[in-house]
Amino acid sequence: MVRTYGTRIPNLPKRELSGHLIVVEGADGSGRTTEVELLREWLEIQGHPVVDTGLRRSTLVSKQIDRAKLGHTLGATTMALFYAGDFADQLENKILPALSAGSTVLADRYIYTLMARAIVRGATREYAQQLYAFAFEPDLIVFLDARTDILLHRAIAKYGSLDYWESGMDLSLSRDRFESFFAYQALLKKEFDWMAKTYGFQRVDANRTPLQVHRDVKALVAALFGKRVRVEIPGETPPRVTPEPEVSGLGSVASGNS
């Protein structure tokens, strides 16, 4: 690589970058963060240096974005551009140097989440695509696809409530947070389904346990590195990282502190 989605960034090095860019996308509660941890562990054991990155972590603007969210002060277009600036800062100052150094960059979400959020808030797909056309094309995009009812239960099990932003309350879809959560997730899902086709996501069924998901993801990553992966027998000793408490669907008992 490095190929972008159409627009060249000024000052981009002309030489090839030796590292790999792997993106893990999925809604909150899709098990994304857990999978990123498991994958990082696994890659490092294989001898790949890993640099991980996520959204809203840039030194440039992440603080201002947090402040803006607290006060709900910025409009939809402004927020979309602010996030794009934050992403660009990480792309140029973190992802690019890591790829140049030959590391594997593991991205816990990428432009796709940002695009989906902007689109459901009124941006057109074309606008969002053009805005992020400077982003590098990943070598692999893993999409952890989970049903909304499962996302709901995982959110409640983890936080005991539904987050304002993850429920899309700023969209005024419903004054009821529970209803808003379902409506908002449905809107996002529509955009993710479109992007899955457009950008070639590798869809992984995330309605299952973290270890089942991890096995599928490992196979995808191994294929990228041209390796054969050992098929694990269910019940085998899990990797050292502790997976998040498993919620197996509608029948589970939610525990939380509110």
């Binding site: 000024p10 402040r67 910025l74 277009t77 551009l81 600036g85 660009a88 100052n93």
Partner: protein, 236 residues
């Protein structure tokens, strides 16, 4: 603006009610002085006027200031942060008075970004798309001056030439003044192109202030046709 490239509410109905006039040009072209005089003139004639300057959103400009101070900005992040600031200014300051039927005068608009970001090497289409949410103004006055005039006025003022204003981040020259001249020349070429592509109206701003004023007023007058004064809005 195309139907497809829109991130903000529709703009078509906006200018039907208010008026949007933009002043553009190099630093030291006298555009801000003229914009202020124009606002006074319109107010004195009984029009409802709103004046908006670039770089006035506190939250975003905080991030920009910090980035500039620490030298963290690349052409891409510079472009995105200024677009963010512009979007905030548009959503918060420009659109409400425009929709309420005001005569809005903007000191710099998306055209500043077009010339500045492309001079820094950003892709021109990418920059235009970024700003496609901005309604097209009724008129854009371009205060045309030779780069030397811009520099002389800048040097005569107490305000020092800033690092980014001089395009020092592009490493055109180690000398601040020389870098300023080269960067501003690139901006000027950008503006000249926009005269053709975006119908910017050139104003010969190297002339004495009174003559520039006359040019500005004669360009603004046609926009006032059918535009109601305050009394008619209140009583009629």
């Amino acid at each position: 603006m195309t139907e497809a490239a829109r991130a903000a509410p529709p703009s078509d109905s906006l200018s039907a009610r208010g008026r949007l006039l933009v002043v553009e040009g190099l630093d030291g072209s006298g555009k801000s002085t003229q914009a202020r005089l124009l606002v006074k003139w319109l107010q004195s004639r009984g029009y409802r006027v709103f004046f908006s300057e670039w770089n006035s959103s506190e939250l975003v400009s905080g991030a920009i200031r910090r980035g500039k101070k620490k030298g963290l900005l690349t052409p891409t992040t510079f472009a995105l942060l200024h677009a963010t600031d512009f979007a905030d200014r548009l959503e918060r300051q420009i659109l409400p008075p425009l929709r309420a039927g005001y005569f809005v005068v903007c000191d710099r608009y998306c055209y500043t970004a077009y010339v500045r970001d492309t001079a820094r090497g950003c892709d021109a289409d990418w920059v235009r798309n970024m700003y496609s949410f901005a309604p097209t103004p009724d008129k854009v006055l371009y205060f045309r001056v030779p780069v030397q005039v811009s520099l002389d006025r800048k040097l005569a003022s107490r305000e020092p030439i800033s690092y980014y204003e001089a395009g020092m981040d592009l490493h055109l020259s180690d000398d601040l003044v020389e870098s300023y001249q080269r960067f501003q020349s690139a901006l000027r070429r950008g503006y000249e192109k926009l005269v053709t592509t975006d119908h910017l109206v050139p104003i010969d701003a190297a002339k004495p202030v009174e003559q520039v004023l006359t040019q500005v007023r004669s360009e603004v007058k046609p926009l006032l046709a059918g535009f109601p004064k305050m009394e008619t809005l209140v009583h009629g």
